[in-house]
């Protein structure tokens, strides 16, 4: 590290400005950085990735353990998993009506909630990115982020309060001489709760994609003779595809694996696969069957994600590649 010229002089001329501590620290850091071997840069990059890799590695390890457990059958006379491996748990799932019902219910909800969220999130994200009114934008942003401060379980209980027999909605209906109606504990209630929960995620994923579409592009479409609807279909939606796919990816995987909404709003008869997994692990202590369902769920989630990414084409998430 070179001496600062101000201090190497022998007192000739005006006395130098005091050399500040923060400058010294920065100098030292720069000196270290200058000595840093260029080759280490690659290593550093890997080092920074390490925590993430560790987490993923642990996940993979967990899956392997589950894979092993899923091949062992629980003996309820000793509450221990069998020593031998077999596909018995999977065979049981294949023949278990409750599993089929739950599977299709989860998949159906995934499809419906994802579609609904995209349809509802699109205008919201568009208004958010296009409005020229700062006040409206602020309002939309608050509306977007406020739900994040309220956890999923709290929100589900909120719906119990609002939609219950003596809840807000039924009270208002009661003033009109209607009801009370059973609004809770149905498949529709669970879907409603899920859409309400997932919507901010969808908006959040969609907004950057829409913001990246210049207004000029839409004007260009109009000047080409495209009506607003046709401009939306032919230009805006295709250009927003990365955002739509990202939003669908988040909403679909979160919905498919959701636990709280069906547990709280489903009234016990609208379980999703995650509830079934939970029951097997914690209620009947059947780690074998639970692992099998968990693996099926993981496989489904991966498949849904894979399908969506395939649908989007390469580089859909803005990862390097063709734009």
């Amino acid at each position: 590290m070179a001496l600062s010229p101000g201090r190497s002089g022998l007192g000739a001329g005006p006395s130098p400005a005091p050399y500040r501590l923060s400058w010294r620290i920065l100098d030292a850091l720069e000196a270290v950085a200058a000595r840093w071997p260029a080759r280490a840069e690659g290593a550093i990059r890997w080092l920074l990735l390490l925590p993430a890799l560790l987490v993923v590695g642990l996940l993979v390890f967990g899956l392997l353990v589950m894979g092993d457990a899923s091949l062992r059958v629980m003996d309820f006379r000793t509450y221990r998993l069998s020593e031998q491996h077999s596909l018995a748990n999977y065979v049981r799932l294949w023949g278990w009506g409750a599993f089929h019902a739950t599977l299709w219910r989860s998949l159906g909800a995934t499809l419906l909630v994802t579609l609904l969220c995209l349809v509802l999130a699109f205008p919201y994200a568009r208004a958010l990115t296009r409005t020229s009114s700062a006040r409206l934008r602020r309002l939309l942003l608050v509306g977007l982020f406020l739900p994040f401060f309220v956890g999923q379980v709290v929100r589900a209980y909120g719906w119990l309060v609002i939609l219950g027999q003596q809840g807000l909605v039924n009270q208002v209906l009661g003033l009109l001489g209607l009801g009370p109606y059973r609004l809770l504990f149905a498949y529709e209630t669970v879907l409603f709760g899920l859409v309400q929960y997932m919507l901010p995620f969808a908006v959040l994923m969609l907004a950057p994609a829409l913001a990246a579409i210049p207004e000029e592009i839409e004007r260009a479409a109009a000047s080409c003779g495209a009506s607003p609807v046709r401009a939306l279909l032919r230009i805006v939606l295709p250009m927003a595809r990365p955002g739509l796919v990202a939003a669908a990816l988040v909403v679909a995987t979160l919905t498919l694996t959701d636990f709280a909404m069906p547990a709280i709003l489903g009234g016990g008869t609208n379980d999703f696969l995650a509830n079934l997994v939970h029951d097997q692990f914690f209620r009947t202590s059947n780690a074998g069957l639970g692992s099998a369902i968990a693996l099926v769920l993981t496989f489904l989630g991966t498949t849904v994600a894979g399908l969506l990414l395939a649908l989007a084409g390469p580089g859909a998430l803005g990862v390097r590649g063709a734009r």
Binding site: M74, F76, R77, T78, Y79, R80, W96, G97, A98, H100, A101, T102, R105, L160, G164, Q165, Q166, G167, P180, R182, L184, F185, G267, G268, T269, D271, L276, D279, F281, F282, R283, T284, S285, N286, A287, L289
Partner: protein
Amino acid sequence: MNDPSFFTSRRRLLGSATALAAGFAVPAVLRAQEPAKPAELIVRAWGGVWVDSLKKGVSDPFTAKTGIRIRHDLTEDNEIKPRIWAAVQQGRTPPIHVNWDTTANATSSALRGVCESLADLPNLAKVLPLAKPIGLEGVPIVNLYSYVYVLAYRPEVFPGGAPTSWSVLLEPRFKGRIALYNDGIGFHPVAQVMGGGKVSDIPGNMEPCWAFIRKLKEQKPLLGEDPDFTNWFQKGEIDVACTISSNAREAKAKGVNVAWTVPKEGAKVDTDGMWIPKGLTANELYWAKRYIDFALSTEAQQVWLDGLGLPGVAPGLRPPADLVGDPSYPTTEKDFERLILIPPRIQAEHTAEWFARFKEIMQS
């Protein structure tokens, strides 16, 4: 006064002095060779009225007598179980010292062999035979009280008086307004009877049970867990339910107009107990046993179970005033005649299977 050894020894001294004064039922021989006391014991419990009454009736007096602090761990019984199993399997210290558990759930742990034997508890000799689990080797669990899955109802929908049969669950006017446990627990024997079967056929032939539950499914029941029932009665979501009497009693305590009955077909009775996981140090094991032994005492049960409104196994308990003569508080032979007890071992061995059938019906 800052010398910790002095402090602890003084407290220990005080503790044993109180214990002596209270006539703590421990043979003098045992007391002479008492192992070192741990600073605290962790007892798993259910929240709400359950932990409150346990603290008042058992834990606080135990601390007063022994100087050992009691910490209550409110992890769900089903969730602590796999953790204990894993700890025992891997030779680690288990997360708790005493597990307050349903007997059926505890039996699965006993079958797996993770429970310490409680056969040498002094109080075990003085209590009802119900305290020792049926069908298990030794005493891995001690039952502490029983409870009944009653038919709870809203009196205003039964102006003619209490319903006398479980068949009211099928009345069209209660469609969407009945509730059961979400694993069907507590209802199987009743359903077996209602479906025209015999209790003695459990677990061999339970088709009558499933047939009845299938009929119930048409009634669009709500399925929940203990707190849900109280809540649902309170919020006007349901009119009739099969639930543990304590939940109905709690709703009533909260000012909801709820009553309960044991219909003519009978009702399922079950027990709760306590057990100690393997893997504790010798002194912790000793004091954990002393805790459970104390929970068996009349002194502790009188206060604790008054809070829960449940009949205990200790001799000479006086029922709470509001439950004298109540069918959900069985005390006499005649009371017990109408209650159906399924041995916990059979329950433990078939829970998963019954659960699967129940889900199959309710989820499709």
